[in-house]
């Protein structure tokens, strides 16, 4: 049993170390841009932002709106009964802006783009496209990993802030149409509860989640060796590990900053 735990701990350490290495190399490639391949790399970044960010706007809007409606409906019906109707703003800031916004956005991105990246890179590995890039003197880290990471981080930060705005808007709609909470009180509550630190931490979570998801998905995609059957296996692992690591990172940040 101890041996099993030990080997799992070593595996986890090795896994996190390889993710950190991949991440560090991407950061080096970003801060020390090469003269070569600048336009090609920028093209990949823009494509990634379009796919991960812009194309995800409809699904993010729907989910954010529904989450906002759900939270405000629950809070708006329960809190006034306790004489705490004025806390609705605080509730939406606490749950949506601080926690659910970054986390659910990360989950949407993992489901849409993370799996797509893992699958694409897995297929590229099997088709020997990754080897071909090496043979052309095109570094995989600079051409494949860094642009996807940058694109994903930018997209996830923007999507998170967008998610928060739409969710609050959803809450506002419910508050306006259905609940007894007056709209000025709702807005006043949100603005009072929301601090610049909340927005900064939300953006920081976006940065962290984007980096984590991109490195996990690239790592698993490039781990595919020789068979197409490995592609869905690695994609599933990438998705599950992305969820777990984003959740764990979120809990860690919340505990460290708010406890």
């Amino acid at each position: 049993m101890i041996g099993w735990v030990g080997s799992k701990a070593i595996e986890a350490y090795a896994y996190l170390a390889s993710l950190a290495t991949l991440c560090a190399q991407a950061v080096v490639d970003l801060v020390r841009p090469s003269k070569q391949g600048r336009s090609e790399t920028s093209r990949v970044i823009i494509r990634q932002i379009l796919f991960t960010g812009v194309d995800a706007l409809p699904v993010t809007s729907v989910i954010a709106l529904l989450v906002g409606i759900l939270i405000i409906t629950q809070a708006g019906t329960q809190l006034p009964m306790l004489g705490a109707g004025g806390l609705i703003g605080s509730i939406i800031v606490l749950t949506v802006v601080r926690e659910l916004g970054p986390l659910l956005t990360a989950f949407i991105v993992v489901g849409r783009s993370g799996t797509a990246i893992a699958t694409e890179l897995g297929n590229m590995s099997v088709n020997r496209e990754v080897v071909a890039l090496r043979l052309m003197g095109i570094p995989v880290s600079r051409f494949i990993i860094m642009p996807r990471m940058v694109g994903m981080v930018i997209s996830i930060i923007c999507l998170t802030l967008y998610f928060d705005v739409v969710a609050v808007l959803g809450g506002y709609l419910v508050a306006k149409v259905k609940l007894t909470v007056p709209f000025p009180a709702f807005i006043d509550g949100v603005m009072t509860a929301l601090s610049s630190t909340d927005v900064t931490i939300t953006a920081a979570k976006g940065l962290l989640f984007g980096t984590a998801v991109a490195s996990i998905c690239c790592h698993h995609g490039l781990s595919v060796q020789s068979s197409y059957t490995e592609v869905p296996q690695q994609t599933t692992r990438a998705m599950i590990n992305s969820f777990v690591i984003c959740f764990a990172a979120d809990v860690l940040i919340t505990v460290l900053l708010y406890l």
Binding site: K35, Q36, G37, R38, S39, E40, E120, N123, M124, N127, R128, E129, V130, V131, A132, L133, R134, L135, M136, G137, I138, P139, F143
Partner: protein
């Protein structure tokens, strides 16, 4: 004195899953066309992979134009890489790009000073000479095996390398296209020195252009000489790859 393009110096490798040991000493001079022949598993592709820096030998060293893949900075290795064009058995064309964009990619990445018109002219020139101009807008999934092979060769040649590594380039090519590829390689070699290391799994007119033939069996060189010398002296098994 002619310069060595590739040197495999006392290279030894334990081949996983095989009882034989790969052990080769081989040199190719700048501008020489070397043909590697032999049965499957004899180590032909491995020699190309060693020269391309995809595989590191257990013992010995591999030098390209006097430099080892293991030495120097990343930039120096990239500079060395750009002197080598490689088209492996599986072409590895990027599936999300057309054949044109696949061939243009090395130029776009490494020669950012080139204008789009320059790139288009260069790429179209290679595609035209390889009979691929009409297929240039196809994606790899829409192309035939022969088109993929020729596109991979065009991509390997577009940076004007000094060494070309071709793993069974005849596969998937019909007679006309094989002839076209022969003429293309001869034209390029007439204009500038280009060393070629090429494997063939069965006889092809492409082998006629070689200056020298190396026959391999079980990871060892069994014969090394001019095509005519090998045709006369080789045993029946090796002769089958030469005629």
């Amino acid at each position: 004195m002619s310069r060595q393009a590739v040197v495999l110096e006392r290279v030894r490798m334990d081949l996983v899953g095989r009882s034989t040991i790969f052990a080769v000493d081989l040199q190719i001079t700048d501008g020489e066309w070397l043909l590697l022949v032999g049965p499957s598993g004899s180590g032909k592709s491995l020699i190309l992979e060693l020269a391309a820096g995809l595989v590191t030998p257990d013992e010995g060293r591999v030098l390209l134009f006097g430099k080892s893949w293991a030495d120097g900075s990343e930039d120096q290795r990239t500079a060395l890489r750009l002197q080598v064009g490689t088209a492996l058995q599986r072409p590895g064309l990027l599936s999300n790009m057309t054949l044109f964009n696949n061939v243009a990619l090395p130029l776009r990445y490494h020669r950012s000073a080139l204008t789009n018109r320059d790139i288009e002219e260069t790429v179209n020139n290679h595609l035209d000479r390889l009979g691929l101009l009409s297929a240039k807008d196809r994606f790899p999934a829409e192309a035939t095996a022969g088109e993929l092979r020729r596109a991979a060769i065009a991509r390997a040649m577009v940076m004007d390398p000094r060494l070309l590594l071709l793993d069974d380039p005849a596969e998937g090519l019909d007679v006309d296209m094989t002839g076209r590829l022969c003429r293309y390689l001869e034209e390029v070699r007439a204009g500038r020195p280009l060393a070629i290391m090429m494997t063939l799994r069965c006889w092809s007119p492409l082998g006629e252009g070689a200056d020298r033939v190396v026959a391999l069996r079980d990871g060892h060189i069994v014969m090394d000489g001019s095509p005519s010398a090998l045709r006369e002296a080789a045993d029946a098994e090796i002769k089958r790859y030469l005629t």
